[in-house]
Amino acid sequence: MKSFQLVDLAWELGVTAASSCEEQVGQTYVRIKMKLNSGTSLETVLMELSLKQFYDLLHELEKAQNTMK
């Protein structure tokens, strides 16, 4: 498995004001942009999470942090 080093992380919080798909209107999202160092080059990974997915991610990160302690 290839491993990457996290170089930078940026996030953005927003809400969908209008959409061609009705169900998306009013949804909150968190967009995360990660800059990863593969060793030979820098790669950018962009992902969008719903609020639930973001809280799930936060939960996993906190679990990892507690385990490290």
Partner: protein
């Protein structure tokens, strides 16, 4: 020799004119020509022609390399022109007649017209747009700036090829896109179609 072609070419390319001259001078063996037609069909279908096949054909033709290459060039262009005829305009008899006018024998003309039916040749073209989805996002906050409230448009383009392209742009660029689309539509209405 005057080859006026209606279905195949608007203007007959030089390579096809040269091919026609060579065919009418009878320096080309019919079997060699048949193999060249087969090679060109394989080429346009993306198949590789190995060096040994090519060299063996050249040896058997007893033709100088430059003449042989010019021959193949002409055959390639001729077969491509046949493959590019739209289905609704393709009449085998008319195409055969035009190919015979170029100096091909009846058998070779029929070989090319029959190849069109069995060929997998696909004219390269840009993928078509299947579906567009959009949404307007208002950014509340980012890691760099705490309070923005800036609207952005996110557009998802689903292409016929199965690819999905997502583009993200601010309001100013969206207005520019709208303007370009409107200009394009305006030109469409002016077309004499």
């Amino acid at each position: 020799m005057n080859c006026s072609s209606n279905l195949l070419f608007v203007t007959v390319p030089k390579s096809v004119e040269q091919l026609s001259k060579q065919l009418q001078s009878k320096i080309v063996d019919p079997l060699i020509l048949q193999t060249l037609i087969d090679f060109s069909n394989r080429y346009w279908n993306g198949e590789e022609i190995c060096r040994e096949e090519w060299e063996s054909l050249l040896k058997n033709s007893y033709l100088p390399l430059t003449i042989f290459e010019n021959l193949f060039s002409g055959v390639l262009i001729l077969t491509l022109a046949v493959f590019q005829i739209p289905e609704k305009l393709f009449t085998p008899e008319l195409v055969c007649a035009e190919l015979i006018a170029f100096g091909l024998a009846v058998e070779q003309a029929e070989q090319i017209t029959q190849l069109k039916a069995t060929s997998n040749f696909k004219i390269p073209k840009l993928p078509k747009l299947n579906d567009v989805k959009w949404r307007i996002d208002v950014t509340i906050s980012t890691s760099n700036v705490s309070r923005i409230l800036e609207p952005w448009i996110l557009m998802e383009l689903n292409l016929e090829s199965g690819d999905q392209k997502t583009i993200h742009f601010p309001l100013a660029q969206f207005h520019s896109l709208r303007y370009q689309v409107a200009s394009c539509l305006n030109q469409f209405t002016k077309l004499p179609v």
